[in-house]
Symmetry: C2
Subunit: 315 residues, 2 copies
């Protein structure tokens, strides 16, 4: 099983399932749990100071002897410091996002890192290929958190990226179970990255109230928002209503940034303020109904994948 | 192949590929071509007068001895007349959309029609099941034309609907090739309905300029619009900019209806006014690059489906 899978070979993992490096959710506990279960766990550096990232890398290493990685958004003043830590700690798997892949890919590759870049539109695939990345995550409109302006869904984005490049490709956005993995591969991907489903695991650092909210909501309860700033998919709570109304009434970028303020996603996801926080989560939240251990999810996905694959072959 | 497929059995067709009954595209030529190729062709009654629908049904029958159907939006003053024609002409396959399935399903079923209802959110699946429909089309956010307010993408919508009902299920939105068919089945559907791809066939009634525009555009060039009226996915042309600006500036429903006016989709799709018409098309337009005969598309989808299915089994 998955002997010839390019994602498994590239990262040295058992199953082509990547756990997204989400802000305020993806610490060492979650990453280690997913890696121990045979997937690829990622530490989400986006919400960490360089010091905290160092601690999480060290803790992850203490808690798994399997490969794990770091997701690093390429914006922000401390990217250089975080890269230094990643290299010093000998982390060999880096997922880069939210920025130009050309800036850091060469440095990372010179230090023998495997570099995967996250894109939300096929035109960015060209840039990532030119930058020399080893693999891509293509993330559809349905994904939680930061997203692209093209609004391309997973169903369209995966074949579109596959037309452009033969690089190992990880599909993200809307990933739920084994059916998602099989569908992603059918569309031309080699594996999946799941975010929301791992956000509501026991090992996720998110606040319990946030996890409860995510498993409670239904279709239509998240929305791609903040389109005048950077598009983000979030739950439609008070904060959403407030900033969306301001956007609709023609508020300027500066006014919107003032409403957004600092630390909105921390307030919501980590501190559990369900009304005033920015509750980043994907559309797949509509399918979620329980908080589980992360390893159990990896097992469930693989079990269902094999069942559905067999049903297809028998048909 | 497809011996046990429930969509094929239900409609008596060879392949589980339905051609969407699109306004200004889906006349008898297109429907007959798709049915002759082993799929299910649908006449789009939405843009036809009752008299024209009668002509198209009769012409379709003259041009194929295979099953074909009619797509009937349930809004509009002449629905009753169109149902009379469908029953009198002994059309046995009816796809209903844009309205309450309870209103007409019983009448159609009493006349031994197979009734399939189109939904864009899983909560509408419950209503359709209660109304006694035989099958469902679940249409994701990426689809062209009229769409739902939940913005659920195909990747999320199909598993969500499958959780609710075991009815034969046709996935729509983002359908391109054999990978799409395989992915749709992996997610829990039994077949697919493709719109955009058949809109740019030789047999489509759309204006040549519209077809050329569709194969030229890229990712991000369509947008779900008119959210204050009824959401419609269309190309971002002058008309789109005009009405979107009005929406953003807080125009009332009445003002928006005035800008929309009458016959916008006819102007764009049928008459080829690429700037002032309403150019309804799906995100999958980004993947389209040629005008083909419809039957060739059916063949291509099945060929690629078999190749990808084999590649999966061998893996």
């Amino acid at each position: 099983m998955f002997e010839n899978n390019r994602i498994c070979k590239l990262f040295g993992i058992q199953y082509p399932i990547v756990q997204a490096g989400m802000v305020w959710c993806s610490g060492w506990r979650l990453a280690a749990a997913v890696s121990n279960a045979g997937g690829l766990g990622l530490i989400g550096a986006g919400s960490m100071t360089p010091e905290l990232l160092l601690t999480h890398i060290q803790k992850a290493r203490e808690n798994t002897d399997k490969p794990f990685g770091v997701n690093l958004p390429l914006l922000g003043p401390d990217v250089g410091q975080k890269i230094d830590i990643i290299l010093k700690e000998n982390v060999k798997i880096v997922f880069t996002s939210a920025g130009n892949p050309k800036t850091w890919t060469t440095v990372l590759k010179e230090n023998r890192c495997i570099v995967t870049h996250v894109i939300a539109g096929s035109k960015y695939a060209i840039k990532a290929v030119e930058a020399g990345t080893d693999a891509l995550v293509a993330e559809g409109f349905e994904a939680g958190g930061h997203n692209g302006r093209e609004e391309s869904t997973t169903f369209v984005l995966i074949p579109a990226v596959r037309k452009i490049t033969d690089l190992p490709l990880i599909a993200a956005g809307g990933m739920y179970g084994g059916g998602s993995l099989l569908a992603a591969i059918a569309l031309g991907a080699d594996g999946i990255q799941a975010g929301s489903r791992f956000a509501v695991t026991e090992e996720s650092s998110a606040h319990l109230e946030f996890k409860k909210k995510v498993i409670e909501i239904n279709e239509g309860d998240t929305r791609l928002s903040l389109k005048k700033l950077i598009p983000v998919r979030m739950i439609r709570n008070n904060f959403y209503q407030h900033i969306t109304k301001a956007e609709e009434q023609g508020s300027s970028r500066i006014e919107l940034l003032k409403i957004l303020g600092e630390g909105r996603s921390k307030l919501g996801i980590f501190e559990g303020d369900l009304e005033e926080g920015e509750l980043e989560i994907g559309q797949v939240s509509a399918l979620l109904d329980k908080i589980q251990p992360a390893g159990e999810i990896v097992k469930e996905i693989i079990k269902e994948y094999l069942e559905r694959k067999k049903a297809l072959s028998d048909d």
